[in-house]
Symmetry: C2
Subunit: 132 residues, 2 copies
Amino acid sequence: MNNKEKLRNAGLRPTKQRMIIANILLNGVNRHFTAENLQNEINSSGNSMSIATIYNCLKKFRNCGLIKQVESSKETAIFDTNIDQHHHFLDEETGELIDIENEEINLFKLPEIPRGYMNSGVEVLIKLKKQT
Amino acid sequence: MNNKEKLRNAGLRPTKQRMIIANILLNGVNRHFTAENLQNEINSSGNSMSIATIYNCLKKFRNCGLIKQVESSKETAIFDTNIDQHHHFLDEETGELIDIENEEINLFKLPEIPRGYMNSGVEVLIKLKKQT
DNA sequence: CAAGTAGTTTAGAACGGTTTTAAAGTAAAA
DNA sequence: TTTTACTTTAAAACCGTTCTAAACTACTTG
């Protein structure tokens, strides 16, 4: 399925701007990025786009499940093109994230989900520091 | 050990402001809170404190290990008086966090830590949504 | 195809949480 | 007591993100 179809399937109009972003992000190579990273990439490809549009687009993509947003206490929002359930290493010094495939972690025992709620995803974060 | 001693042990001068905050936070009852939550609490106890001081103090407390900061993609920083390794439920709608004791989750298999790094803490986040 | 309409993009302003600044104040050391 | 280093403060600055409202564009309907 091409990116135009992906957008349509997600209920999004394939505008020029969304196609530029989809072509950068949805090429099968997983990555982490911020809105600013993406704007730099758009600029250096000879295009340009308002930062507001980039945020709008990332929010729409996220709400449609085309990308994910990572839970991280960094000041800037970090997005992830890997939408499968998976986990992360976090380099606490640099903030860099490294993917951990779901199968690499085995959660043997989980607590009872509070009444009235359902589990909507489990994320494991392994914090790293430089070896001394 | 009283709070004055805790501050001294952590290498922090027990100033009036730090004592006010320590007395609120370090009373053995675990909780999550933001800088603003804390300021409201200080105000309603008849004291007052600059928001800059509150941030300074929370950062120092965190760096000394007296409190933790939670990994969360909320826009405001969330702190936690529970400094033991533990995990969280996250209500995705409200952002509310609920503690999960370390023993309630059993991580059966962990991935290999990247070369040159060491594991400095594992946090599991179980995202919750309202049952339909 | 033309006209209408609903959705989208934009620059710039506004926002909100956090950090910086620089001056005044305080704790500890000498 | 005097000195020194650290701390607090209000206000300004900062920075990532969202809002505004006007211009624009994709799609629908005739």
